[in-house]
């Protein structure tokens, strides 16, 4: 049992999915011979052939649109969008077609399509390679939106997403691709796809993150512990649906909630959590829900990204503010 990176775990999970169902296809730009720019599909083209691991023309709307047609025909396409910032040309196909065809056809046509999107910043990339578009998708009825934060979750969640009969936007925290974890692929039973997970138990304040910010929250919790504050960390894992039960249970105990994400804060997932937890835990909240998020600006040039991204200091500051209420 060797330590596996998140990237390798995804590769293994995709391989399992391809092996398990001949209707599963992988498609996107450079996913074939190259194995994808992040090598997530490395080796799949060789082992499953170019009819199942498909290099597509350079057109995102085309990728998702043909995936919709393939799903119509009974296939289960897994599309790769090369980087977050290139999901927008496919927006219409995702929002008006993929998300709505099941409703439109009154359940007669299902859309078991996964759209994989490496997202988030922190890798020193150029413009459009570091964005966090999750709010757009989570706001869209008909989609499911998930994001693994660990190799084990990546391995299982990609398989669960492929097995899901609804379209899943699968957000891969690209700056965590190279994080390692020891786990036994295939062993044990995975958590439900849409369940949040308590990543670190605590008493005084609840820190909620997902994808790339789970690590940030864990680091902040460790630092808070040094100061004598016990922070519970929740990894949401799913953004649509949101497992508000798990968050509410935690907040009912801690009375304080800090949400951390890279996406801009305004109308972001943190707003939704503040609203729904505000409603569910009105009498237990000792402080308003605080949000530590990307600023409401375009993602900055990489030399400024450290100032843009939520980091330990900002989360800790929010914890102090929350505790001060």
């Amino acid at each position: 049992m060797a330590a596996t990176t998140l990237a390798q775990a995804l590769n293994l999970g995709l391989r399992k999915a391809l092996e398990g169902d001949r209707k599963v296809l992988v498609m996107g730009e450079d996913v074939g011979r190259l194995g994808g720019v992040f090598r997530i599909t490395d080796g799949l083209h060789k082992d499953f052939g170019e009819d199942r691991v498909v290099d597509t023309p350079l057109a995102e709307s085309g990728i998702v649109g043909t995936a919709v047609g393939l799903a119509f025909r009974g296939y289960r396409p897994v599309c790769e969008i090369q980087f977050d910032g290139f999901a927008y040309p496919a927006f219409d196909q995702i929002v008006s077609q993929l998300a709505k065809i099941r409703t439109r056809t009154r359940g007669r046509v299902t859309m078991p399509v996964v759209v994989r999107i490496p997202y988030g910043g922190g890798i020193g990339a150029v413009e459009h390679h570091s964005e966090s578009p999750e709010a757009y998708f989570a706001h869209t009825a008909g989609l499911r939106v998930v994001s693994p934060a660990s190799p084990a979750d990546a391995y299982w969640m990609i398989q669960q997403s492929v097995a899901c009969d609804d379209p899943v936007i699968f957000l891969e925290p690209k700056r965590r691709y190279w994080d390692r974890e020891e786990f036994e692929p295939g062993a044990g039973a995975p958590l439900a796809l849409h369940a949040a997970r308590v990543a670190r138990p605590g008493r005084d304040v609840t820190l909620v993150g997902y994808g790339p910010t789970v690590r940030v929250c864990l680091d902040a919790a460790a630092a808070a512990a040094q100061e004598g504050h016990s922070a519970e960390v929740i990894d949401l894992r799913s953004l649509s649906p949101l497992d508000t039960d798990t968050v509410a249970r935690s907040v009912a105990r801690t009375g304080r909630l800090v949400v951390v994400h890279e996406a801009p804060g305004f109308l972001g997932p943190g707003a939704e959590l503040a609203a729904s937890i505000g409603e569910r835990c009105f009498y237990s909240l000792q402080a308003p829900t605080l949000r530590v998020t990307g600023y409401d600006t375009p993602y900055p040039p990489s030399r400024l990204e450290n100032a843009y991204l939520p980091d330990l200091e900002r989360v800790l500051d929010a914890v102090h503010h929350s505790l001060a209420y």
Partner: protein, 350 residues
């Protein structure tokens, strides 16, 4: 490409042999008359408030029946909102088509049963679906083809051009069927292109052909040929059927604001139904009895459609939450429950 001239004389074109029995030819005429009558009835139903909207196919009967009758059970269709004639050929019940326009359902027939996806409203949005479906057929070793129908305006959409690229690169079994009815709402063809639309295909590396869209025989022959081409593995084809939208864009539109009566008249002289009738009469392939019979059948259909439409029930309000997801979804399931409880409150009231 034309097999019937404007006066209904049969023209031979050696590239497009079409050998139909008189009965087959009569039945093409019959289909055109029936969908025209159905279409007129739907327009009336809209005026009477039974439908929210109707997009008339008036003038496009030949283009649609010709292509529709070229299809067989192996094939699959993706269309826009105006292809009632194609749906008719796929065996979709006309009353069933009306649910969409009445506002009872977004999709009102079973796509797999009909071999045809539901109406697409986003102009061009379905072209890629057709290509994707065809790629699936290719992988399945199926011997059918996909017919993708759209209008002249749709050719300006990025998605339609991406569909051309994907179809060409993979040699997908797709026939793109563009009904160039000269208008995209108020915009004439010149706002979409400076050259005939069939030529677009050549730039993407596959054949394009223009056909007289008011000539049902030509449309049938060309669509048959193109489908055969696609089914054989030779890749996509684009057909431009040149026709005319004789009615306003929809029942909401006022075409007098942007086009002249002269133009309408000019095209009225090319009426596709009249042309086929002239041919049948001139050649003696149909007699007065046949035409009377068809007209009566059309009235019967209209009656049935009227009754069926009026009787069409509204779905229960909870249908809002149906079929959004295949599996459970905590948020939506909770909303449905709340909704039901809230509604019950009013039902209990006196």
């Amino acid at each position: 490409m034309r097999l019937l001239d404007a006066e209904g004389h049969r023209v031979e074109d050696p590239r497009w042999a079409l050998d139909l029995s008189a009965e087959e030819e009569r039945s093409l005429y019959r289909d055109m008359v029936l969908v025209r009558r159905f279409d007129a009835e739907a327009t009336t139903l809209q005026r009477q408030g039974e439908l929210g909207l109707w997009a008339s196919l008036l003038g496009q009967e030949a283009a649609q029946i010709g292509a529709g009758r070229a299809l067989d059970l192996r094939d699959f269709v993706f269309s826009s909102y105006r292809e009632h004639g194609i749906a008719w050929c796929r065996g979709v019940d006309p009353v069933g088509m009306l649910g969409f326009w009445r506002g009872t359902a977004h999709g009102c027939w079973d796509p797999y049963h009909a071999g045809m996806a539901n109406y697409q409203v986003v102009v061009g949005g379905h072209a890629l679906h057709g290509v994707g479906y065809a790629l699936g057929m290719q992988r399945d070793g199926a011997d059918g083809a996909v017919l993708v129908c759209f209008g002249d305006g749709a050719t300006s959409q990025g998605d339609v051009n991406e569909a051309f690229t994907f179809a060409s690169v993979y040699g997908a079994p797709v026939v793109f069927y563009c009904q160039n009815n000269q208008w995209a709402i108020s915009e004439p063809l010149e706002r979409q292109t400076r050259v005939p639309l069939y030529r677009r295909a050549l730039g993407f590396g596959f054949p394009g052909i223009q056909v007289d869209g008011n000539d049902v025989l030509a449309c049938l022959a060309v669509a048959r040929g193109a489908l055969e081409h696609a089914r054989s593995g030779a890749g996509p084809v684009l057909i431009e059927a040149v026709t005319y939208r004789m009615a306003p864009h929809t029942t909401s539109d006022d075409a007098t604001r942007y086009r002249s009566a002269d133009e309408a008249e000019e095209w009225a002289a090319k009426d596709p139904v009249a042309r086929m009738r002239a041919y049948l009469e001139r050649t003696g392939r149909a007699d007065a009895g046949f035409f009377k019979e068809v007209d009566e059948e059309a009235e019967t259909l209209a009656l049935r459609v009227r009754g069926g439409c009026r009787a069409m029930p509204d779905p229960p309000p909870t249908a809002i939450f149906d079929h959004v997801y295949a599996g459970p979804h905590t948020l939506l399931d909770a909303q449905r429950e709340e909704f039901t409880a809230f509604q019950a409150q009013f039902e209990d009231a006196p």
